[in-house]
Amino acid sequence: MEYGFFFDGTRCTGCKTCEAACKDYHDLNASLTYRRIYDYEGGRWDTCDNGSLTHRAWAYSVSLSCCHCGEAVCVQVCPTGAMHKEPEGLVRVDHHVCVGCGYCEIACPYHAPHVSAETKQSEKCDGCYDRLQAGRAPVCVAACPVRALGFGPFEELGAQAGCVRAVAPLPVETFTDPHLVIRPASCAQPSDDRTGFVANPQEV
């Protein structure tokens, strides 16, 4: 049985508490983050004859960590075997073996692994493996003030009604079989959307 993350786009306000909690727990500085929050925005404005305005603008946030993919391309491209999947599906780095080549960073469509300038090795979300062992949810899940994050058996997560596995700006799920289930915001756009844009590229 493999596990995955759940993200509720109807609850997320883009507050970044998940990111801050992750950074505090994993002791990451401003140059490295395991969880990134994309603000995806679009829409337009109309001016009426009398000068009043109506908006058709929209905006939603997507909080994204490693998707612990079924077809993890980071594992496939890793030349040393450092990047590997645990039996329960979590993708982790074996720091005894990683040489910091960065292939994983290039290959991952979710930009999850990152070769740290400090450690010179690939660093990424491991689902808070140590917390899971202790019977605790990943720190981001336990931190979310509005309970927009979840973690559990991927099959159960996927069975929830009205859920999808990709929204813009994430790629379609057929590439890597991400273990991520999303309850989309009402304004969420499909992966192939060309009308919106990532409004905070410098923050992710």
Partner: protein
């Protein structure tokens, strides 16, 4: 065993663990895992091929209850769990008691709470007393001893009192500790010039008591929205200002999922509507009163108002309840709205459309939604009142719940910002400040004015209270954990006044960091946090529980940082008032004193029946108690005769005679300033109408998620997570050649700021917005340009007509690409 297993959204952790292959691996390791095992019992999982995994080092630390900043987010003060090892904080976690499932109550903190380790252990913390060696504002200082620091301060205090009198001493509001240690010292020395109001809601909190009594500024808890069918919030954004804890943001999320319709009226699609753009009603900044008045017009003209009911509770809704002095003059609220009042303009949706930029049809639709609601929760943030004539705006919004009867019952609100259910929270957090022998006060915003020309400030022009005028300028300023020069409009003006050592002769700052404000001080004292000393902290939440936190020095302050109380004790000793100041108590002993002094009063408050004794709270460190959801002003609306308000008439004064008298006698600075006895729309100082060809855009600010005002701006992780940016609509950015992420210059007559642009449809065209609180980085002797992104460089320092508080959301500007 299962009690300790956390749950996740939609999927219980127990389910996760039962089927987990992690469990199988654990079996190999020979140790029980999950839920009941301690980290020490766990075995490394070397069989996986991964490096041996041990629990996070912080999992094995000592864990203490602590707090975020002491005055929290106005409403939310979160209990935090500090992991400590070898005297250092290793990790900060949130409240993990209660029910973590959606709908349950668990006070999960926000990203700022999660950054407390970085804040406490920041390398830039001030570590010892400093004495200024360069010009004020230069940031040039040398280390001095505590002896020299307290001796110098004591001498300057004595000199100031002897030369100018106690009224020449002022202490800026404190933002870090909020404990009255300084106020107590100054009171023991004969007092000081006080400050009333607040930067947060000064206009609203000054004028609302005229209309609705002393409780007027306060709103019902957002928890009420769980019993509503409609929420209309003007300029309110709990998703960034009260986002952590069992807070307004969480309550709003729960209300939404119960099917409550939410409408957020704001000039930008604030974070409370992210993912729900249909909830956002854009409005031109500063015109909320026009929208509220037009909605009232629709409701009145369609006969949707129960006027007999309104007149039972109100003075001056219509002619029938006008006070004697104003009878027969068409001065009522209804006359104003319907166009039979003094300006003879009906406040129709068509009238409001070009002002608010909201179509007449939409305004009518909003009014109909309100008319059809069974329990509408109407609120306003503190942005709408932070404009010219905001004193009228906040009352105009408050009229909507009153005339529609959506007030005084559960599910409803007073039109004010969502508040807390139980008000008695703060006395525990302070030591008694004592009584100030100096009765004269100024608006807390007028500090720089009183430094500059205090001697010329009067009651009827400058809002001096307790005397007709000030007797002196401020000559001794104690900036007690406040970055007020960074946080008030027109930094250049403040700089010119504060740098002059002939004006304010001595400035002391107590802070944790070298802030923009501290750099003007003659002596800087290194401060501590509430987690670095004995503290009692009231846990403020929205509406579901009350609580108290007892902290016993979780960590020691760095280097020579000292508790302000101990510093003040030293000064009191030098000046011969030590006994009066301390009454023989240490700081820790004062905590117990305050607790036991307020316990009898507290015991009468909802939830406080189970309040622990000092011995109990000292042992348990945290106490919370569930309360029932209540709405503000329920007693008054149940029986206005038996429970009158403490206004002059005992009723809601829609027409306020006292304000009419003030309007007739006060001198106002500017023709746009208006004190009106009824709530009206009037554009006010530097409104959108003031835009020119040179400065065609309108600029307002907001309280961002990455800081608490200016506090935490120096935490790099937070600055990176949410960057300091200017929001600008594509319609305004494209003609200027500005692309998302470009650096831009924002200018007006007051200054120039360089900041990163965020080009986004989330802001109404014609308006730009930038969050307040970024630390100014200006060389006033050089090019004078702020490269820190501080909006206050561009904001005005004009005092509002009645309360003399800030109108800083009213600014015109131009934006150009750099």
């Amino acid at each position: 065993m299962t009690e300790t297993i956390e749950k996740t959204s939609g999927v219980s952790r127990r389910t996760f663990l039962k089927g987990s292959s992690l469990a199988a691996l654990a079996g190999v390791g020979g140790s029980a895992l999950y839920g009941c095992s301690t980290p020490e019992e766990e075995q490394p999982l070397s069989e996986t091929g991964a490096a041996p995994t041990v629990a996070h080092p912080a999992e094995q630390d000592e864990v203490f209850w602590g707090t975020c900043k002491s005055d929290g987010c106005g409403q939310t003060i979160c209990p935090l769990r500090y992991h400590v090892k070898d005297g250092a904080i290793t990790l900060v976690e949130a409240d993990d008691r209660g029910d973590g499932e959606f709908g349950g109550v668990q006070a999960r903190c926000c990203l700022r709470g999660r950054s407390m380790r970085q804040w406490h252990q920041h390398p830039d913390r001030l570590k010892w007393p400093l004495k200024r060696t360069g010009p004020r504002g230069s940031g040039q200082y040398e280390r001095i001893s505590w002896d020299e620091a307290v001796q110098t301060i004591a001498e300057k205090l004595k000199y100031t009192i002897d030369t100018y009198g106690n009224e020449a001493i002022h202490s800026g509001v404190t933002a870090i500790r909020n404990d009255q240690a300084l106020e107590r010292l100054l009171n023991c020395l004969g007092g000081y010039l006080g400050g009333y109001g607040s930067d947060s809601r000064g206009q609203l909190e000054t004028i609302m008591p005229y209309m609705m009594g002393s409780g007027g500024p306060n709103g019902s808890s957002m928890t009420n929205t769980l019993h509503s069918d409609l929420v209309i919030q003007f300029g309110n954004n709990p998703a960034t200002t009260r986002m952590g804890g069992a807070s307004a943001n969480y309550d709003l999320a729960r209300a939404r999922e119960k099917g409550v319709e939410i409408i957020t009226i704001d000039y930008w699609m604030n974070d409370s509507c992210v993912g729900h753009p249909e909830e956002w009603q854009p409005i031109r900044s500063g015109t909320d009163a026009a929208l509220a008045s037009a909605m009232a017009y629709v409701l009145i003209s369609e006969g949707a108002i129960d006027e007999a009911w309104v007149n039972k509770y109100c003075i001056g809704y219509d002619e029938s309840t006008m006070p004697e002095s104003a009878r027969g003059k068409h001065l009522s609220y209804k006359d104003y709205i319907m166009g039979t009042g003094y300006d003879m303009i009906p406040k129709t949706p068509e009238w409001a459309a070009p002002i608010t930029l909201i179509s007449a049809e939409r305004i009518t639709e909003l009014a109909h939604k309100l008319a059809n609601a069974k329990a509408a929760y109407i609120s306003q943030g503190w942005g709408p009142q932070r404009h010219g004539n905001g004193e009228s705006t906040c009352r105009a919004i408050a009229m909507l719940p009153i005339i529609t009867g959506n007030i005084g019952r559960v599910g409803c609100n007073t039109g004010m910002r969502d508040g807390v259910s139980v008000g008695l929270v703060n006395p525990f957090t302070t030591i008694p400040g004592g009584e100030n022998p100096v009765k004269t006060m100024i608006s807390c915003i007028s500090v720089v004015d009183a430094v500059d020309h205090g001697h010329a400030m009067t009651a009827t022009r400058d809002g001096v209270t307790g005397a007709d005028k000030l007797s002196t300028d401020i000559k001794f300023l104690w900036l007690d954990g406040t970055n007020l020069l960074n946080q008030r409009g027109d930094l250049r003006r403040s700089h010119e006044i504060m740098k002059d050592e002939n004006k304010c002769e001595f400035i002391v700052a107590q802070d944790m960091f070298m802030t923009f404000t501290a750099s003007y001080a003659d002596i800087i004292l290194p401060g501590i946090t509430r987690n670095e000393c004995a503290s009692v902290i009231a846990l403020a939440t929205a509406g579901e529980f009350v609580g108290q936190l007892h902290i016993d020095s979780i960590v020691q302050p760095p280097e020579e940082c000292r508790n302000m109380y101990d510093v003040c004790t030293d000064i009191a000793r030098i000046l011969g008032v030590e006994e009066a100041y301390t009454e023989g108590r240490t700081w820790a002993e004062w905590q117990q004193f305050s607790w036991e002094m307020y316990q009898p009063y507290a015991a009468q408050m909802p939830g406080y029946e189970t309040m622990p004794t000092w011995e109990e709270i000292s042992k348990d460190h945290i106490w919370t108690s569930e309360i029932e959801v209540t709405s503000k002003m329920m007693d008054f609306f149940a029986d206005p005769e038996a429970a009158p308000l403490d206004t002059e008439s005992g009723k809601i004064e829609v027409y306020c005679e006292r304000l009419a008298n003030i309007a007739a006698t006060w001198e106002l600075d500017d023709p746009t300033d208006v004190i009106s006895p009824i709530p009206i729309y009037t554009p006010g100082f530097e409104s959108y109408e003031a835009c020119t060809e040179d400065y065609p855009l309108y600029l307002s600010g907001w309280h961002p998620r990455q800081r608490f005002h200016s506090t935490f701006h120096n935490l790099e992780n937070l600055r990176q997570a949410t960057r300091q940016q200017l929001l600008i609509n594509p319609a305004d950015a494209e003609p200027r050649g500005i692309k998302n992420g470009d650096m831009v210059s924002v200018t007006n007559e007051r200054g120039e700021v360089h900041v990163e642009a965020r080009v986004t449809p989330r802001i109404i065209p014609g308006q730009v917005g930038m969050p307040e609180g970024a630390w100014a980085q200006i060389d006033f002797d050089g090019d004078g340009i702020d490269r820190g992104g501080n909006i206050n460089v561009l904001c005005n320092s004009h005092p509002s007509p009645l309360s003399k508080h800030n109108c800083s959301n009213s600014a015109i500007c131009q934006v150009t690409k750099l």
